[in-house]
């Protein structure tokens, strides 16, 4: 019972972080570094991570994957670099505007896009997938693509999605099962380092 109480207190208290950010005074010498920060911003974040729940991303522009793919575009047209390295690029507003300078300029979402560019701002996309820092996963797209893993295997069928949704739950079980089926390494440091 005591153990239970401690575990619970731990779970709740353990992973929060003080909100105060050192003020940006112009006087460097007066500042001192804090001894610690906590692993999470808030108690809520800590609890959410403990139970593995994530908030749904809200995208600033209702980008539709369906339409782009239906028009014959490929994933790698925008997500450049996914076959070369760990991450796929999320295109910047400039990249979108190479086409949308002329295409569908009257649509409300495209107007939003143009407005961002006019203000000199990039689109603040929110992450859909991605691992918690405390999961310490070093995922690398390129070897997976070289091994012929279909994008949909991990991201769901984007032909049916408008804004990207978390269709696949990237749990460790999901990864390990696929690795096992394909005789890929399941050594821990394959992904965790």
């Amino acid at each position: 019972m005591i153990l239970g109480v401690i575990v619970l207190t731990g779970a709740i208290l353990g992973r929060t972080m003080p909100a105060d950010d050192s003020s940006t005074a112009s006087q460097p010498a007066a500042q001192t570094s804090p001894i610690f920060t906590t692993a999470h911003r808030t108690v809520g974040d800590a609890v959410r991570e403990f139970f593995g729940t994530r908030t749904k991303p809200v995208q600033p522009i209702a980008y539709t994957h369906k339409v782009h793919l239906a028009n014959g575009m490929q994933c790698t047209d925008c997500h450049v670099g996914v076959d070369q390295g760990p991450d796929a690029r999320i295109p910047s507003v400039n990249f979108c505007m190479t086409c949308h300078q002329v295409i569908a300029t009257d649509k409300p979402e495209i107007k939003k896009l143009a407005a961002y560019r006019a203000r000199g701002e990039d689109i603040p996309w929110q992450r859909v997938y991605g691992f918690e820092p405390s999961a310490h996963v070093k995922f690398n797209h390129a070897p997976h693509i070289r091994a012929g893993v279909d994008c949909a295997k991990c991201h769901g069928d984007m032909h049916t999605q408008t804004v990207a949704e978390r269709k696949v739950d990237h749990t460790m079980g999901f990864c390990v099962e696929c690795h096992r089926q394909n005789n890929a390494s399941v050594d821990c440091v394959t992904c965790h380092f």
């Binding site: 972080m17 010498a29 911003r41 670099g81 070369q84 690029r89 400039n94 560019r117």
Partner: protein, 757 residues
């Protein structure tokens, strides 16, 4: 943890929990449109140059895309940009050959330092109070131009002083041209370890006013008088690469390394034979080695040529320096001297080095001349496995170094300010920190305080730039166009070049670009002296000259040459041919080796005082880097602090225990620091690392430890004006219990359990 912190943090945590619904504050920052087109997660390597010490190592910077919080047009936002992530040695660079010292790695933190000056600043509070307000670049440059124009208007151009840490390559040209165009006095160069005594000796002995390039890799016998050539002296990485090769790079052949000094230095620790010798008698020791070589006819006397002729009694075989006669004075038995001389002569090629404390005695110049003569006698000059000079493309003009030290100019500046006649009215400061780097007895701080207007181009507020009225922050080296012309370290001619490795993080501007801008705004002669629009234009012009002078096998025109140099990290000659030995004829006016003088009566001040270059902080200019602060000193393992080295027996007599606070007092000041009791120092010597003791140098270095330079006596090296920083005597007393932070615990003796079996 203080209770106060607890309450504060609890409250903050609670507030955070309450505000949680507002979402991640990072998401509330706007995102700027990226300026570069980078692939996430993929590293590119860009050549750069290490600027933290004069060695001029070539580096490769690993650049990856990252998200930086930056201010653009007065607004805080997130920008995806290429960020330097790691610095490695450039394998193609002839100096460091892909290797790097600890300081070079930490250069990364200069760019990302939290206390870097982010915008131009104008002083608001009293001088030195550290109160500044942020201004725009237009305002800042306007202020500087108006100050300079005022000097021009009153025909007082000579009252502009420029104070810089030694610059090389095109930056030096820009600064010199600016001074010349403005008709001010030439820039004053200041750094603590300026090596000018050795440069001066080399000029006299060999006709080269530079430090030697040492071919350790092919040497079989290395004798070093006080030079910490594996730690900080001259070109330490190049020398370490050579040392590794000397020790184990040639199958079946292993060179011997003998270190002669009064405290086991970073280099001395690796010696095959360590010979203790009091400070100041290094020259005598060298000459007694020469005596044995001459006496036993191991080499002919005239082999030393001109270098030998400078030494009194050389032609007679140095009768006064027979080891038997001087063994008491140098504290080394005649048998040892004879053995070393025979070993060195037989092993060949042999090379003798001198540097650091051995040249910072009042008789340092003569010590260096003696070692030069010994080198010449052993036939080490200009030979494989020996030392060579003059590989640099544009060696500093001989007159700059000959017979005068940094002290000369800075003391003159101070004297003028103190007397008020011809005193500087405007001072431009380029990273030099003489307030920290000169003895308090010189009065630099108060004198500089009298300058009506000081503008600093540094990236940090330090003891000297804290006096500034205007701060025009420079880019960090990684954000700048860099070039360098190292004078030693490689037998090849090297001209390093690097474009910026990353875009600037803050609202800073490159110092040479600002000077060009200021010169153009002033118009007239200054503008004519600096005809380039930007600094890279100036660099390109220089590389065109270089192409024309040296030619190139790979580039067909100057443009391609310029491009290839940027990709490679510079240009270097293909051949490693050392210039012909500049030994010269057997002539010259002989000089006797004078006895060293020390400040302070031995009765009152029983110990010699030896400040030494810190492996992590060099001359103190790197104390602001947290990696350097936390890296344990290799010998003492001290982190985040300073220490006073005291011999075990001496400490016992003084009743001092490890970590006790002791007071070290010279006739010119005193300081307190924790004691480090060690067997690796002479019993009559007190040593202290230079680097800590900053009053005002970012959050990581301010108010930490004590500065040994401050208590030094204003002694100069005879026949030069350089500070004889190892010529002070001190007394030591225990103050009480203290605190010393060490990474290593018990390291005095290897216990049996750690000995390899």
């Amino acid at each position: 943890m203080q209770r106060r912190d607890f309450l504060k943090i609890s409250a903050a945590g609670g507030a955070a929990a309450a505000l949680e619904g507002c979402g991640n504050p990072d998401h509330q920052l706007i995102r700027f449109i990226p300026e570069e087109d980078l692939l996430p997660g993929i590293a590119t390597w860009k050549p750069s140059i290490c600027t933290l010490c004069p060695a001029g190592c070539g580096t490769l910077v690993r650049v990856m895309q990252g998200e930086a919080e930056v201010v653009r047009n007065g607004q805080l936002g997130i920008l995806k940009m290429g960020l330097a992530k790691k610095i490695e040695g450039n394998p193609a660079h002839p100096i460091n050959q892909g290797k790097l010292c600890p300081r070079g790695h930490a250069a990364l933190q200069v760019t990302y330092h939290p206390d870097r000056i982010k915008t131009p600043l104008q002083r608001t509070g009293n001088r030195g109070s550290g109160q500044f307000k942020e201004i725009t670049w237009d305002e800042a440059i306007k202020q500087l131009v108006s100050q300079l124009s005022a000097l021009q208007a009153s025909k007082e151009q000579g009252r502009l002083a420029l104070l810089a840490s030694p610059l090389r390559g095109e930056r030096r040209t820009v600064l010199n041209n600016f001074a010349a165009g403005f008709k001010s006095a030439p820039p004053i160069e200041f750094e603590f370890f300026d090596n000018r005594v050795l440069q001066s000796a080399n000029l006299q002995s060999f006709g080269h006013a530079s430090l030697p390039t040492i071919d350790l890799g092919q040497s079989n016998y290395v004798i070093s008088f006080g030079a910490d050539f594996l730690g900080t002296w001259n070109s330490p990485v190049a020398q370490s690469v050579g040392y590794g090769h000397m020790r184990k790079g040639r199958p079946g052949q292993r060179g011997k390394f003998v270190q002669v000094e009064s405290r086991v230095s970073q280099s001395g620790a690796s010696a095959d034979e360590f010979i203790a010798c009091p400070n100041g008698v290094e020259g005598m020791f060298a000459l007694s080695l020469a005596h044995v070589v001459l006496r036993d006819k191991l080499r002919a006397g005239d082999a030393a040529g001109h270098a030998g002729s400078l030494i009194d009694g050389w032609s007679q075989g140095l009768p006064d320096h027979a080891p038997e006669k001087i063994e008491k004075q140098i504290g080394v038995s005649a048998a040892t001297v004879a053995r070393i001389a025979h070993e060195a002569a037989a092993a060949g090629p042999a090379v003798v080095l001198i540097g650091d404390a051995a040249t910072a005695q009042t008789n340092g110049l003569f010590n260096a001349l003696a070692v030069n003569a010994l080198n010449a006698l052993l036939g080490s000059v200009g030979k494989p496995g020996g030392l060579s000079f003059g590989a640099g493309w544009s060696e500093p003009p001989a007159s700059a170094a000959a017979g005068k030290g940094a002290a000369d100019s800075i003391q003159k500046l101070v004297a003028q300010l103190q007397s008020g006649s011809d005193a500087a009215r405007v001072l431009l400061l380029f990273n030099a920190n003489p307030v920290f780097g000169t003895p308090a007895a010189w009065g630099v701080h108060d004198a500089l305080g009298k300058v009506p207007f000081i503008a600093s181009f540094g990236s940090f507020i330090d003891e000297t730039s804290a006096l500034a009225d205007l701060i025009l922050p420079d880019h960090s080296p990684l954000e700048s166009w860099l070039d360098d012309v190292p004078a030693s370290g490689s037998a090849r001619t090297v001209v390093s070049l690097a474009p910026p490795a990353m875009n600037p993080l803050h609202d800073t501007r490159s110092m040479p670009d600002v000077l060009l801008d200021v010169a153009h705004q002033l118009g007239g002669d200054p503008a004519k002296a600096l005809p380039w629009k930007t600094y890279d234009e100036a660099l390109k012009a220089t590389f065109t000259t270089l192409y024309i002078e040296k030619g190139s096998q790979t580039a067909k025109d100057p443009d391609e040459f310029w491009k290839k140099a940027q990709e490679q990290g510079g240009w270097w000659s293909a051949d490693e041919k050392t210039p012909a030995p500049a030994v010269g004829k057997f002539s010259g006016s002989p000089a006797k080796i004078p006895a060293p003088q020390f400040d302070g009566a031995p009765e009152e001040f029983p110990f010699h005082f030896l400040p030494f270059a810190s492996q992590m902080f060099y001359d103190g200019s790197l104390a602001h880097l947290p990696w350097m602060q936390e890296a344990p000193d290799p010998l003492s393992s001290v982190m985040w602090g300073t220490w006073v080295e005291i011999n075990t027996r001496t400490a016992e007599k003084l009743g001092v225990k490890m970590g006790d606070t002791v007071e070290v007092a010279s006739a010119h000041g005193k300081l307190q620091a924790p004691a480090l009791v060690t067997p690796a120092i002479a019993p009559d010597l007190i040593a202290m690392p230079i680097g800590q003791g900053h009053e005002n140098f970012t959050r990581y270095a301010s108010g930490r430890g004590a500065n040994p330079i401050s208590i030094l006596a204003p002694m100069t090296v005879e026949s030069t004006q350089s500070l004889a920083w190892a010529a002070t005597r001190v007394k030591v007393s225990r103050v009480g219990e203290g605190k010393i932070v060490m990474f290593g615990a018990s390291m005095d003796e290897t216990p049996a359990s750690t000995k390899h079996r």
